[in-house]
């Protein structure tokens, strides 16, 4: 098979599954050969997962985490996209506000945990606030840069057809920047998912992050720890897949490199 040939249909699924199984086998054998008493084998993890499902914890925790991510992320997008569009459209405003944003942006949301607990107490609100912070800055910056990168030709064409500034933003600038905004949203959601786990390990007592830390603290159940870790990975992948789907929509697809 040369590199130009289309992979066969079965090959598209076979090789990735093969690699995953190989990984599981290596994991299993490493646990067996090292005779570790602490680290679980894939089978232990599978039993642990089944236990979590039967207790009804799994669905509840996943639901809690997703709800927090959704709330924080949506608030971040609802405030971040308009602010980013505005800052991109009015360079004078960006000149004034941008240094502050760029200074706040590199502060890890994790570092905000103590402050958010003081403000919101241990609970949902503190976690949602952290997710909001985690998604807000990447969204603002992506939207701002997206507007700046809109080719001047589109803006001029819009003006030529007699659009008012408000219409110009709605009908030209926003759709022209949408692909880059979607990239920003996708990055933000990835970060939000990282942060929710960290937040739940400290600031709250439910959710997948809490499952990780609680399984360790109450009885060193490393099978449950690893089960929770895998769950986090799978959900993260699923969230990313949603955005990959959105990127394929025809009205934004032009902005992405995957031609043909």
């Amino acid at each position: 098979m040369n590199s130009l040939a289309q992979p066969m249909k079965w090959e598209k699924y076979f090789w990735p599954i093969f690699a995953a199984l190989l990984f599981l086998a290596l994991w299993h054998l490493s646990v067996k050969w090292s005779a570790t008493k602490i680290f679980p084998s894939p089978l232990d993890v599978e039993r642990g997962t089944a236990e979590l499902i039967s207790k009804g914890l799994l669905l509840r925790y996943v639901g809690d985490s997703l709800r927090r991510v959704a709330s924080g992320f949506l608030i971040g997008a609802a405030l971040g996209i308009p602010l980013g569009l505005l800052l991109g459209w009015y360079p004078e405003a960006a000149f004034v506000v941008n240094p502050t944003i760029q200074m706040l942006r590199p502060i890890s949301p994790i570092a905000w945990i103590p402050v958010s607990i003081v403000w919101f107490g241990v609970g949902d609100l503190a976690a949602i606030y952290l997710i909001f912070l985690a998604s807000f800055f990447p969204i603002v910056v992506a939207s701002m840069n997206a507007v700046r990168n809109v080719p001047s030709m589109y803006r001029r064409a819009g003006r030529n057809f007699g659009l008012s500034p408000a219409k110009l933003i709605a009908k030209v600038v926003f759709p022209a920047s949408l692909p880059q905004i979607i990239v920003g949203l996708r990055i933000a959601l990835g970060i939000a998912w990282l942060v929710v786990v960290a937040a739940e390990m400290t600031a709250i007592d439910s959710g997948v992050g809490y499952l990780v830390i609680d399984s360790r603290n109450s009885g060193k159940r490393y099978d449950l720890v690893v089960a929770a870790m895998i769950l986090i990975g799978v959900i993260g992948l699923a969230l990313d897949t949603i955005f990959r789907r959105i990127e394929k929509l025809k009205s934004v697809r032009w902005g992405f490199r995957h031609e043909s």
């Binding site: 080719p151 003006r159 030529n160 032009w254």
Partner: protein
């Protein structure tokens, strides 16, 4: 129309004065970077002149206007809209049926039937260019400004597009100002060719193309006119 411009200490246009009649097809011809695009942008109202002014129908130009549409190279079509969406872009104030009617009319005029729901990325360069012309015509402007519209197309498509543009011009009789650096293109299309010198651009001469359409591009008169323009630019017509 009189306009003079110096921007950023660079004198781009110097003492340019030109009258264009209604329904006329005028080509601005000059070497790349001579300032002919700048002149077109000034006429369209995207750039305001440092000195002088542009008057259209007795009215001074203060900015871009839907009565005068600028056509960029095919890259000016909106990639997030379908063919229909692009053509209908300037028609949002029209009632729905009238809008649909206009869209259908111009899709047919520029030969994009069957591509109504297609996105620009699915079209060829020539089709995108026709789409942009259709979007411009749909708002029923008095004038069209075309800035090297066929520059990015291959030579065969370019030739076909010239024919299409003339066909559309004869059907709609808009005033067209067309910027090009291609001598043959100018002579094939224009009623008058405005030959411009290098920066700062001045009008070196205006050549009347007194051949009827369709033009025979190997006729004596055509070759005479072409050689005349070659001489004006200071090029020997030998390679």
């Amino acid at each position: 129309m009189i306009f003079t411009r110096d921007g950023d200490q660079v004198r781009v246009l110097d003492n340019v004065s030109l009258d264009v009649g209604e329904g006329e097809f005028v080509c601005l011809l000059g070497p790349s970077g001579c300032g002919k695009s700048t002149l077109l942008n000034v006429i369209a109202g995207f750039i305001s002149p440092t000195q002088g002014q542009v008057r259209i129908g007795g009215e001074a130009v203060r900015g871009p206007d839907p009565r005068r549409i600028f056509v960029f190279q095919e890259r000016g079509v909106f990639p997030w809209l379908t063919v229909e969406g692009n053509i209908g872009f300037g028609l949002s104030k029209l009632p729905k049926t009238e809008r649909a009617h206009r869209i259908a009319h111009y899709i047919k005029l520029v030969g994009l039937l069957g591509f109504e729901k297609a996105y620009p990325q699915e079209l060829s360069g020539g089709m995108k260019q026709r789409l942009e012309v259709a979007r411009a015509l749909a708002v029923n402007p008095d004038m069209l400004f075309l800035d090297e519209p066929f520059g990015a197309l291959d030579s065969i498509t370019r030739l076909i597009m010239r024919g299409e543009l003339l066909r559309i011009w004869e059907a709609e009789r808009k005033t067209i100002i067309f910027v090009t650096h291609d001598i043959e293109e100018a002579i094939q299309l224009a009623d008058r060719v405005v030959v411009m010198s290098s920066r700062p651009a001045k009008i070196q001469g205006i050549v009347n193309i007194d051949i009827d359409h369709p033009r025979d591009i190997s006729s004596r008169r055509y070759l005479e006119l072409r050689d005349g323009i070659f001489e004006q630019i200071g090029l020997a017509h030998k390679v």
